[in-house]
Subunit: 205 residues, 2 copies
DNA sequence: AATAAAATTGACCAAGTAGTCAAGAACCAC
DNA sequence: GTGGTTCTTGACTACTTGGTCAATTTTATT
């Protein structure tokens, strides 16, 4: 688990601690101590705490990218993709609850929202990560249009953003409630209603 | 604007500063300075910073309650209620952008999410406020069922929570993007799709 | 006017904050 | 080995943090 590489160890420790708690509540000293790194080394690799956060976000995205690629693979039907995605998302949240003792929500949203007005680099990074996620949704929506599941002329870009907002909102709600229950009940069913897919296409699965 | 009452002045200043920035980035000293109150007075009224935050949330909810009551009044058709609500929500976000120079999102979500794992009182308060909001949604959804706009047996409680999540998610997204554009484009149309209302009922308005 | 209660003040504290820096250690190519 | 580069260290700074407290002023009650 723990990287031998100093920089990676800092990044991994940071994403864990910040995701569980918050950016401001986790100090550079905390991260250094947990990663067993002296502060001078920290500032050898990062020129600020914010820069570490940005790199942690990128690395976390890269770590999850494989899952995204698998779930949103064209080998799955468009509907399967969103189904598998909500399952995956739920499992991830469940894992944070078991591992950190708390529902942690979406790290990009929490961190991006917390620092939105103070660290523009962090806000921008969160924004960019969401855009990348939305490309997966868009592509799936386009396939839905092609298959006649969604009407010609559907604004896939707008709808992808709605999906992104909805999922993010569900995660934040789960974090604030510190409970997986509404997520389990609402995430998938609400998402498919939001997608505007006729129920006849959902019966099959 | 500025209250003559010391306690109110602290609460009003706090909600403003915390909403614009974040809980952690605004210190007790900052709030005291902005409210022109000495720190001893602060701790005469509040026994901790967290307690102030909880009271600020309650007061902010009370301040907005009138708008909610007007918008969700049974004098409006159920569809009108959600329409007026999205309009109001958008205008509120627009106001924060103009006033604070930044899209601020939902204060209960931002604050609740930021402090979820550190200050349980804050998390709980945010949770409670969302529950109160959901009661407005639920009541409207029940009226929709009664009018045949939604099918008998609709789980209004679950759907209200979905609505809450979606709106919150849109706000957070707007904050992270620091832009009103997606909100303007997606908030209302996505909400009505999420509600699962047959389009024939929407044509009328 | 006397008294008690509520409100205000500013000095104070211990602990933490992000970030710096000069010195040394480890590693590299040659 | 030599020389240069990258890493690591720990002490250091200047400042901020949430919170305390005893002394004072203001306000309300009689």
């Amino acid at each position: 688990m723990a990287s031998t590489n100093t920089k990676d160890r800092l990044v991994e420790t940071a994403i864990e601690m910040v995701w569980k708690n918050s950016y401001s509540s986790v100090s550079v000293d905390d991260i250094c101590k947990a990663a067993d790194v002296r502060k001078g080394s920290f500032y050898h690799y990062f020129k600020s705490k914010a820069e570490l956060a940005v790199e942690a976000m990128e690395q976390h995205y890269q770590k999850k990218k494989g899952d995204f690629d698998r779930v949103f693979s064209p080998a799955n039907t468009p509907i399967e993709r969103f189904e598998k995605y909500t399952d995956l998302a739920f499992e991830n949240q469940k894992k944070t609850l078991e591992e950190y003792g708390h529902v942690c929500g979406c790290p990009f949203a929490s961190l991006g929202s917390e620092m939105a007005s103070q660290e523009d680099l962090i806000r921008e990074k969160a924004d960019k990560v969401f855009q990348r996620h939305q490309r997966y949704y868009e592509s799936t929506l386009r396939d839905m249009v092609a298959e006649g599941i969604l009407p010609e002329g559907t604004d896939v870009s707008a709808r992808a953003e709605e999906v992104s907002s909805y999922i993010c909102g569900q995660f934040m709600m789960a974090r604030v409630q510190n409970s997986l229950r509404p997520l389990e009940r609402d995430l998938k069913v609400g998402l498919f209603r939001l997608l505007g897919i006729d129920s006849k296409y959902l019966k099959a699965s």
